[in-house]
């Protein structure tokens, strides 16, 4: 779905991404993981076009991702960030339907789609007319997810969507996300620093370190191969990883 070749992105002289080449498979969940500052969020922001690479090439669906193609591409992407990025002056419903209203969808089509999404994300009816400030963190992430899915995009990009939530809510949402990803069968790219979460949600894991892709494969490959000493240390550092792995069927 996405193809990155020799992508470089520099911030203030330090290379956030250094010569990254990567294929992101369609219809699967790819998790970008690594310690803070490894470049995983930068990579995601490149995919959604919020930033442009200094050099290298990014393709989406076989076409280069550039200023000309971006507006059309964005409607095929859904994007969720850590704190939700919900507009505080709009209710949950207004947040979710903003883009559809801008595109002048008929009201009935909007209502139907919102109804589907509420069922999918198990969002309570009474929450729709509340403002983000009046909803819990978990509920806000459900709203944010609905907003991203409103136009039924082919790709869902999530930047630490559960990072700011407390563990219990996080646990519930992880289960919901897994179910949603499975039922939708979309291309999903998710950023996290939690290996257990990555193993639980992802088909493919991309481990990054200092702007380089260290390893790319499924969870077991990552576990067993331990391509270098860094991968070993990163895996060891995640105490919850074992339990996360055990919960895999």
């Amino acid at each position: 779905m996405f193809r990155l070749s020799h992508v470089v992105k520099t911030y203030d002289g330090t290379r956030a991404l250094d010569d990254v080449t990567l294929d992101i498979a369609p219809g699967q969940t790819t998790v970008l993981i690594g310690p803070s500052g490894c470049g995983k969020s930068t990579l995601l922001r490149l995919l959604v076009g919020l930033i442009r690479p200094d050099s290298g090439r990014i393709e989406f669906d076989g076409r280069p991702l550039d200023a000309r193609s971006l507006p059309a591409v964005r409607r095929r992407l859904g994007y969720v960030i850590q704190e939700g990025g919900l507009f505080p002056h709009l209710t949950a419903r207004e947040n979710i339907t903003l883009m559809a209203r801008h595109l002048r969808w008929p009201a009935s089509r909007i209502a139907t789609r919102v109804y589907e999404l509420a069922a999918l994300t198990r969002f309570p009816d009474e929450g729709f007319d509340r403002y983000p400030g009046e909803l819990s963190g978990g509920q806000n992430q459900r709203v944010s997810l609905m907003r991203a899915l409103m136009l039924d995009p082919q790709v869902l990009l999530l930047d630490e969507p559960l990072g700011a939530l407390d563990p219990m809510i996080r646990f519930d949402l992880q289960e919901d996300l897994q179910r949603i990803f499975e039922s939708l069968g979309k291309t999903v790219v998710l950023v996290t620093h939690d290996l257990a979460e990555a193993g639980f949600l992802g088909h493919n894991l991309v481990l990054l370190r200092k702007g380089h892709v260290v390893q790319h494969g499924d969870v077991r490959e990552l576990m067993e191969a331990e391509a270098d000493e860094f991968v070993g240390r990163f895996v060891q550092a995640q105490r919850s990883f074992r339990s996360g792995l055990d919960s895999e069927p």
Binding site: L50, I81, F87, P88, H89, L98
Partner: protein
Amino acid sequence: MRARLAFVALAAAACMAAAGCSFKGDRDAVVVVGSKSFTESVILGEALRALVADAGITARHQRALGGTRLVFNALASGEIDAYVEYTGTLTHEIFAAAAPADEHALRDALEASGIVLAGKVGFQNNYALGMPAARAASLGIGHVSDLAAHPDLVLRFGNEFMERADGWPGLRDFYDLPQRDVRGVEHDLAYRALAAGDAEVTDLYTTDAEILYYDLRTLADDRGFFPRYDAVLLHRADLESRVPGATGALRRLLGAIEETDMTALNAAVKLEGRSEREVAARFLGDRLGVTAPGEAEGRATRLLRYTREHLLLVGVSLLAAILVAVPLGILAARLPRLGQALLGVVGIGQTIPALALLVVMVPLFGIGAGPALVALFIYALLPIVRNTHAGITHIPTPLLESAVALGLPPAARLRHVELPLALPTILAGVKTAAVINVGGATLGALVGAGGYGQPILAGIRLDDVGLLLEGAVPSALMAIAAQWLFERIERAVTPRGIRARAAD
């Protein structure tokens, strides 16, 4: 419903018909005075009305009816009974075809229309040349012919005077004037040049309020080049037979007003913002001992007028400032480098002392509400531009990125995300501007813009604390009201979502 409407319409028509009849019925006992639509004419109309009223006759003043032709026709047809006209206007406009050669011919022409030329009011409103009084004194210039000895004087005339045959070209040939540095400019700019010392002579009308404002000396037309525009009283020939004693009352104005008087009266209205009625009444009281009934406005009507003028000044300048400043603020937020320059320039506007700003504006926009509106507009810009800029640039990055990632184009982002989020901040800026302007507008009275500054200035000049408070107290109350109003608006238009957050 429809039946009731019809009934109301019928009743209204009946009332109007009745009113019309009673108006016609009373018409015989009433003297109706007219005036043309400029200050001097309205003052004279008020004076005539007061004189008739002083004689115990019911008098009405049809203020500012329109131009010369309209008012003269109203007199000829009997809609009005009297007004003050100028001899030059009569010969050159009304009877241009017949061109009466002298006053006798003019009187005859008027009589044919059933109009009596009762006599001269005293002053002339002629074209004249004016010089700053100090400069004229230092050069010893008092007459137009004195100019011949000073070939290096800088002359700036209004464009019309520069071109008319009876303007500069004729004057130059008639007096054989040697000046070389002579140019036509916008007339207000000529005054400005005079005030700045860049020019020394300009053309003016002999009763212009500006003569006092800029302290000019009018140079005597010692060889009689300019046509005479003597102010004369015209009344209908049948007036005395219809309302005995009316012409006698009107005639008290003859010879009563000198040129300097008329200039002072014009200035009192234009510069001090007094009403024509008040100015005329005070003059007649001083000179002729006339105490016309209802000569001055009551305190309530006066306050109402000040309030209306003040609201107009603040409202119009604020509205214009919002329309200009919000887009400027958005622009400044979009283009950071230009934004800094823009904020700097707008900020400089704010640092100019209000008084200086007003003085600069007068030559550009004349006296009255114009310069005050422009000055207030400039003052209102900064708070609104700055707050719009701040409101938009302080929106958290994740929100902006969310809007971009959603696929909203820039215009939709501005409308749906940035402006709503910045709205409370923008409104706070508007509130600041409104409160500043309510205070600043009191200075408008300095340039004849009216408003609460009028009683304040008069109070200072007359050392009358009561009068001063008449302006100061309502002005303070209006500032508080503006504050309150904008807080209400802020609350009303801020969505609950942002309010909840602000309360955290």
